[in-house]
């Protein structure tokens, strides 16, 4: 054990009721809440109230996680329905109209109610302030308000769906969305309101990152997850207002016939597409950039190696966010925009592909000479690398104008964006959940089942969507209720794959629920990570995150510092020792004093000790 350098002058003992490292932990999951003497319905009500009115970013993150998981499940079931209907040409158990409503439901809910808020609103809300060493986000009340705005938007969307559904596809293209007699009006309002939630979260994150970093946490020491969330927030702020006004215009068009997008009145339906994609292409980066951030964290932690090309990854996130605003026209190569603009959009599209490619190579290089631990989060990270690379390379395919003419609006495009969003974002998010779950709920998930689910999901995913590349390049158009018999074989394979994918996701869900009740209590830093949420807080964190504001003196992936014997405790004491030993801390939730890991460089405690 190396010498424990007592922190310099700044640790002059402050008079406290508790010695350092012995402060009681106020588990955020239970406090604030009713005291032990409150029982029955009263108790339930008090707990409910304390959650519903909380301004604690951790609770809001958990509430977001719960809400979007429900939407993911519902929209996922819709996807299974869509796939099942496509088992054979003609009607299986749906009519054409029902099918159209079902795929629209899948698209709208997945995009606007799941994947856009997914990582930033749930894990971002939980982790960002802790990684920054802050006690909360800059505007906690605004944070709660954004959750309720999201919930309001989601309720309107559900109303739209149950009041007859909507059959325009998630893209709402005019003039079809002007003329269809389905519930377009409430759905546009839902997107508008949910957009507000996104904007508020974005503002909150940017201000928090700018103004509330712990002392010593310079921009060059920010974890890459924070960099990614920073880039995402920029996109959210700049892009979301445009979809807002587009939805308002579409709603007014249906409501009072203003005709801005209606060719019958001299309006231009292609303008709607420009507006829509001006938001929705950057929105693709809202979906994928947080996943990049997660993968950087996972590759670093599980390779125990500095993330290769930290600066390139950090800055390329911001570069992607900016360039992302200049490529929307690549969704419109065959729409009738001028050929010149198609060419310009195509070239910028290729330029934006380069930073993404660099990231992939940097992540692979991070493993070089590292110490790679193939725990479940790492398996998901590797699956992400494989799937996202396919998603990116097929992006080159559809970005080349000549080839896109053939592939546009076919299953090839469907497969491409599922590789990016499902294979990219969802795999990263599941990996991130396995990674941060112990921090969030203080329980370990099952490693065995975690690894099995990673393999099943990977297999099922490729079976479902790789077949769709072939279907698409063979000419099968998207959004087809029925199809020509020559496409049936591949459709059947794809549908069966979707069952494996669903099975894998069910295993993940089961694992989560199991861990909440049966999982092993999590130590403060089960993975041996070096960012503040692992080194300076307990699992789960205290109501106020930290007992004292952390002082950051090294980068987020400086594992060598961790192994020097200091700071790896996860004891909330940040390396403060009593008599040369890490101070054990009582954890009222886990029951009994939580076992403090022995010093890492003795090689005995980390990391499997928490798992087996």
């Amino acid at each position: 054990m190396s010498t424990v350098a007592t922190a310099p002058a700044r640790t002059e003992p402050v008079q406290r009721a508790y010695p350092p490292g012995h402060e009681p932990v106020h588990n955020y999951l239970h406090e604030p809440g009713p005291g032990p003497d409150v029982h029955g319905f009263q108790r339930f009500w008090e707990i409910f109230k304390s959650w519903a009115t909380t301004v604690d970013h951790k609770r809001i993150g958990v509430m977001y996680l719960f809400t979007i998981s429900i939407f993911f499940a519902v929209a996922g079931i819709a996807a299974l329905g869509v796939r099942a209907e496509l088992l054979a040409p003609g009607s299986q158990f749906l009519t054409a109209d029902q099918y159209n409503k079902l795929f629209t439901f899948h698209g709208v809910v997945m995009v606007f109610l799941f994947i856009i808020p997914s990582i930033p609103a749930s894990l971002g809300n939980f982790i960002l302030p802790i990684q920054l060493g802050a006690k909360d986000v800059a505007f906690p009340k605004l944070n709660l308000m954004s959750y309720y705005l999201f919930l309001t938007g989601a309720s309107i969307a559900l109303y739209a769906i149950f009041s007859g559904g909507i059959d325009t596809g998630w893209t709402f293209y005019t003039p079809y969305s002007d003329t269809t007699n389905t519930a377009v009006l409430p759905m546009t309002m839902a997107v508008f309101v949910a957009g507000f939630a996104t904007i508020l979260t974005g503002i909150n994150f940017i201000v928090t990152i700018h103004k509330m970093r712990a002392p010593g946490l310079t921009w060059n020491r920010l974890p890459l997850f924070i960099w990614a969330l920073y880039a995402v927030s920029i996109v959210q702020i700049l892009a979301t207002p445009v979809i807002g006004i587009t939805m308002v215009l579409l709603a007014l068009e249906r409501f009072i016939g203003i005709g801005i997008f209606d060719p019958a009145l001299g309006g231009d339906p292609v303008l709607f597409q420009h507006f829509f994609w001006f938001y929705s292409h950057p929105a693709v980066y809202i979906m994928i950039l947080p996943a990049f951030g997660v993968i950087s964290e996972l590759m670093g932690t599980f390779s125990r190696q500095k993330v290769f090309g930290y600066r390139a990854i950090a800055l390329s996130s911001v570069a992607i966010a900016m360039l992302g605003f200049m490529v929307w026209g690549h969704h419109m190569f065959v729409s009738g925009q001028s050929p010149l603009s198609s060419i310009v959009f195509s070239v910028i599209t290729f330029l934006i592909g380069v930073p993404s490619g660099i990231k992939i190579l940097n992540w692979v290089a991070t493993m070089y000479k590292g110490s790679v631990w193939l725990a479940t989060p790492m398996l998901f990270a590797l699956a992400f690398l494989f799937l996202f690379t396919i998603g990116g390379l097929t992006g080159i395919m559809v970005g080349a104008i000549g080839v896109d003419i053939h592939l546009h609006d076919t299953y090839f495009v469907v497969a491409h964006f599922h590789y990016v969003m499902m294979g990219g974002t969802v795999f990263a998010m599941v990996g991130a959940l396995f990674y941060w779950w112990p921090k969030m709920f203080g329980r370990m998930m099952s490693e065995t089942w975690g690894r099995i689910s990673a393999v099943v999901m990977f297999f099922g995913f490729n079976m479902t969507f790789f077949t769709q590349f072939i279907l698409g390049s063979q000419g099968m158009p998207r959004r087809y209720f029925t199809y020509l018999p020559q496409y049936q074989d591949l459709h059947v394979v794809s549908t069966i794959g979707s069952w494996f994918l669903a099975l894998g996701l069910l295993m993940v869900l089961g694992n989560m629920i199991w861990s909440l009740f049966r999982g092993k209590p999590a130590p403060g830093n089960p993975w041996g990570a070096a960012t503040l949420e692992w080194t300076h807080t307990t699992s789960p964190p205290d109501h106020h995150n930290f007992h004292r504001t952390p002082l950051v003196t090294h980068g987020p992936y400086d594992y060598d510092v961790l192994f020097s014997g200091d700071g790896a405790g996860g004891d909330g004491a940040g390396g403060v020792r009593i008599a040369g030993q890490p101070a054990p801390i009582p954890d009222p939730e886990v029951g009994g004093p939580q076992e403090m890991e022995k010093s890492v460089d003795q090689g005995t405690s980390q990391p499997d000790s928490a798992l087996d």
């Binding site: 445009v242 308002v248 215009l249 016939g257 001299g266 007992h547 952390p550 020097s564």
Partner: protein, 263 residues
């Protein structure tokens, strides 16, 4: 090994209050427990407000883009339809909003100098000026509705013999046709007139909603100012609402020439 993460406690004003919600330390009452200093809190609020205003600019930016595209598609429509807008009323409204920007800036100055009376009365003046703006807007709108100048397909204020080729417009014109045209009013001959007024109503309407929201916000500030909540030590809400009001003002400064002064 000189570096390692640890914690500091010296700059934490809430150090004694851990785990409880009554932050009884020696920090000012407006300072939230998750901020370290008033300065940090003020900077954060201001940055947040600026970011919000960026989203406002982009919201209107989308509409200005639509305006630009349709103006370049149908230049003669914009010139002709613009004659229906009352330049005098629009001009007065511009002056009214400029004056309100002055009073709100003055209010912030009063807050900085602890002039409670000045703060209150300047806020009241701002609300009143905004009210004048809305009243003038009301008269402009009702006059147009009276003539049949509605957005999009509902527009009916056409001159006799307007050549229709757009089916939707013709139907609307027939539906509302045969009405009395008051003296001195010149009906339009451009079949796409409704499109211009769609843009006009949407842009001025959404701007009007922003004015209303501003009136509510400033009224709230005035009530709190009356109770003496703001001082040079803490006037963040006044500052931020002031910023918002300037943006609402600037948007109108762009709307006025683009809508009313086309020639």
């Amino acid at each position: 090994m000189a570096v390692h993460p640890t914690t500091i406690a010296v700059d934490d004003p809430h150090a004694g209050a851990h785990g409880s919600h009554d932050h009884g330390g020696d920090h000012p009452p407006h300072l939230k427990h998750y901020f370290i200093s008033s300065e940090q809190q003020f900077d954060a609020a201001k940055l947040g407000m600026w970011l919000f205003l960026v989203t406002e600019i982009l919201l209107f930016g989308g509409m200005f883009v639509a305006y630009g595209i349709y103006r370049s598609m149908y230049p003669e429509l914009f010139v002709e339809a613009s004659t229906q807008l009352n330049t005098v009323m629009g001009g007065i409204n511009t002056l009214v909003l400029l004056a309100s920007s002055l009073t709100v800036a003055w209010a912030i100055r009063c807050a900085q100098t602890d002039n409670q009376r000045g703060l209150f009365w300047n806020l009241v003046a701002t609300v009143c000026l905004a009210g004048v703006f809305m009243v003038i807007k009301y008269f402009e709108y009702t006059h147009k509705f009276h003539l049949g100048i509605f957005p999009g397909s509902h527009y009916t204020f056409f001159a006799e013999g307007t050549p229709f080729t757009l089916p939707g417009v013709e139907a609307a014109a027939e539906h509302g046709g045969g009405h009395h045209i008051p003296e001195g009013e010149l009906p339009l001959t451009n079949q796409r007139a409704g499109l211009f007024f769609s843009i006009y109503y949407v842009m001025t309407g959404i701007h009007g909603i922003h004015v209303l929201i501003g009136m509510i916000a400033i009224s709230t500030l005035a009530v709190k100012a009356w109770k003496g909540k703001y001082s040079s030590a803490w006037y963040t809400p006044v500052e931020n609402v002031g910023l918002y009001w300037h943006v609402v003002d600037i948007i109108w400064i762009f709307l006025f020439p683009l809508m009313y002064l086309i020639s």
